[in-house]
Symmetry: C2
Subunit: 455 residues, 2 copies
């Protein structure tokens, strides 16, 4: 609040205020779930030695402009009070590039950072797409080694496993394999994009559809068939890599890509990444504008969830504010999609309320019962129980229990004159309505055990 003594008190504005379209409030129940998912991601990133950073929500517009292609129009920007054009954070990657340029002398490379923060895009809101949403990025800056890419992929696998996402597979491809495919298809570099786009639709429109699009892009019918046969190759990575190497022999970028991919799969195996969670997929294109090496995407087909995590190597991007290229690889978790999936499939057993115990205030006519309740609640808190006292005196007990039940608080405690005299506290388990008397001296320890079991 304003600390000015003279500020006008808020005028009443009875017309119901609204939340902006594409923006959301989070009530406690959903917020607790979000915090849990974020905590799992953070733990996973930290277990891999990634360090947290934070950048401002606002940047010079110049820093953001020219970085997002056509999507640039979705940046919220405006002149600030000093007339500087400023823009709201649109993703966490351009700020990372700016951060590395500003602080390069304070950082030790390879620099592994994670950044979990909201970003803003003036996009058309629709189911699952918001104007304010959180990204959870982990990137490694300053090394070209496939050890870094393997680290990133293993994080994706560990994080999604920890969130209990079922049947996910990290599809892995390489930018230069796609380039090689375009060469193999006899398409000029400047038209290669249409080949990638066609191939990327394989799962969506099938082989016949892709063939049609390839031919429309100028690929000969027989070549189109060979391209499709190649990208559809399945089997163990060794077999697939061997087949590709054979077909793309003599195409320079393919050699480089296959060396990378071979190392990557070796490293993933050494890291113990479960084989069912990653695969080589020559049809994966992703947004290729920035990518220079391996690209990957975590996909769940059953139940259909689409892409949960996107990632890849982008050796030209982080150096955009510096005088030379700085290699980098990393991943971005779209928190909202993950949360939607977790909620829909109830993947995490998360409580709906933080509070674990309500200490009722016995509605007698003196303040002694209030003081007893407050002493008890303080003791429970010191014992590590998330406890609260009823915040009104004189309410009848039934109403206090109902308050706890509506909030989802699992236990209600009564310490009235009768309990005080008997040296006990009545502990009511509100989930099953069972009530037990617990000695006053041990009730904090008793309740700590009960709630720990439920956390």
């Amino acid at each position: 609040m304003s600390d000015s003594l003279d500020a006008a008190p808020g005028r009443r504005q009875v017309r119901a205020p609204q939340v902006l379209k594409g923006f959301r409030d989070f009530l406690p129940e959903r917020m607790i779930l979000r915090q849990r998912v974020i905590a799992i991601l953070r733990e996973t990133y930290e277990r891999h030695g990634f360090e947290p950073i934070e950048t401002p929500a606002l940047e010079y517009y110049e820093t953001l402009a020219g970085k997002y292609g056509e999507d640039e129009k979705l940046i919220y920007h405006f002149p600030d009070h000093g007339g500087r054009e400023i823009g709201m954070r649109y993703d966490l990657t351009v700020p990372l590039a700016r951060f590395v340029a500003v602080h390069r002398n304070e950082l030790t490379f390879p620099f592994k950072r994670y950044h979990i923060a909201p970003v803003w895009r003036a996009d058309r809101p629709q189911r699952g797409r918001y104007r304010e949403f959180w990204q959870c990025d982990a990137d490694i800056v300053g090394t070209r080694s496939m050890l870094a890419d393997a680290d990133v992929i293993s994080i994706v696998i560990e994080a999604l496993s920890a969130i209990n996402i079922p049947n996910f597979v990290v599809h892995i491809n390489h930018r230069k394999l796609l380039e090689s495919l375009a060469i193999y298809a006899g398409v000029q570099a400047d038209r290669a994009g249409s080949v990638y786009r066609a191939i990327d639709k394989l799962a969506k429109i099938g082989e016949a559809g892709v063939a049609q699009e390839l031919v429309a892009a100028g690929v000969e019918t027989a070549t189109a068939a060979r391209v499709i046969e190649l990208v559809s190759t399945s089997g163990s990575p060794d077999v697939v890599i061997g087949r590709i190497a054979e077909r793309l022999e003599g195409i320079a970028p393919a050699r480089e890509a296959l060396d990378d991919i071979t190392s990557l799969f070796e490293f993933l195996a050494a890291l113990g990444a479960p084989a069912e969670h990653y695969t080589l997929d020559l049809a994966l294109a992703r947004g290729l504008a920035y990518y220079t090496g391996p690209v990957f995407e975590a996909i769940v087909d059953e139940p259909k969830m689409g892409s949960l995590v996107g990632a890849g190597r982008y050796d030209g991007l982080v150096g955009m504010f510096s005088s030379h290229d700085i290699p980098a690889t990393g991943m971005s978790v779209g928190l909202e999609r993950i949360i939607d999936v977790v909620e829909e499939l109830r993947l995490l057993d998360v409580r709906t309320t933080i509070s674990e115990a309500l200490v009722t205030i016995f509605p007698d006519d003196g303040s002694a019962s209030t003081h007893e309740a407050l002493r008890l609640v303080a003791e429970l808190r010191r014992a590590g129980v998330r406890a609260e006292a009823t915040l009104e005196e004189g309410r009848d007990l039934g109403r206090q229990f109902r308050y706890a039940v509506r909030r989802g608080v699992p236990f209600a405690l009564v310490i009235g004159p009768d309990e005080v005299q008997r040296g006990v506290v009545a502990v009511k388990d509100l989930q099953n309505e069972l009530q037990v008397d617990v000695p006053r001296a041990t009730v904090a320890a008793y309740l700590r055990e009960r709630v720990r079991a439920q956390r």
Copy 2:
């Protein structure tokens, strides 16, 4: 990043980009400390049964306008892509009021929420004042009981104690006591503000200075002396309350305020709040625009830190978007001030890096050593150690150790051909240069114990 296949790759912009004035990047070392302090606040709020919520960074400007008096000019606002005037979150209290109005049918009252988030103000940047800073608010909405105010004050005391803030005292006053003082001084209600402002300066300008200001505000010299004598009363709460009751007898708001204050101090005592951490201070005014009941502020005089937490009851504010008043009380922790103090006085023993162990890659000519290192790093992670492998093959060991030292990683591990043959891992403690061989089979358990002791 943009997922568009056609987006233009980022153009290189070699001119060094800047961070906007009043905004900050946080490098890992500071970010780890911030996360620790936020975690302590969150734990404290949750231990008291407060539930987390989140509101958007952007609101209709109309929601924010007319709520902050003169400071309204500091709100960042602009027309969005649809021509709606929107503003950036300026504090967490107006969004709470809007949240309660929108969701009142989904909430159970008293509603206890905490909200930890950045806010933005186009203020003149200066030491300790930023344009983007975090607020950590805890409020209770829907009860007039002093039990709620006592809960909030006890949180302040617990949180500051947990952060190791030395010698802090929560100064407590009551809006209606100040009103009574103005009546006692014979000043009309519409000029009462000048009396509050004068009294509030007692610690700064002393009794003579306050007397001068009071007289300038139209208070008679003799009355000014009596006012000053009254607000300077010190001693135990009982004594002070008794003295005030005597002097302000017959002034209606004083009776009400003293009832509140008496209950509040009783409740604080029952909650076990240490008496040295709170006091009645009739000279505390705070920004009174919104406050209707008790006001409080956590102050550290030695070393001089000023006010760390501001709080109070504001029964008229949360209902501003609703058709009736909704009582509320709460507190706002200014994270930046707390962090400054924690850093200056080194109050928390926080590590400077997340990563706990670097597994070096032995620079031999084969890939066997790389695979050994990766298997080891995966095992350490599974054991709960925050571990990473060197992200480049072929670096000499000295360079790998130096990388770990520069980063502040406490342990480096070597598993070269010699170690493999002997069935051990060499564990080097980089803080004291001591190196021990630990059996390969037990190294994960060994290291887990070592790093747990350091966390």
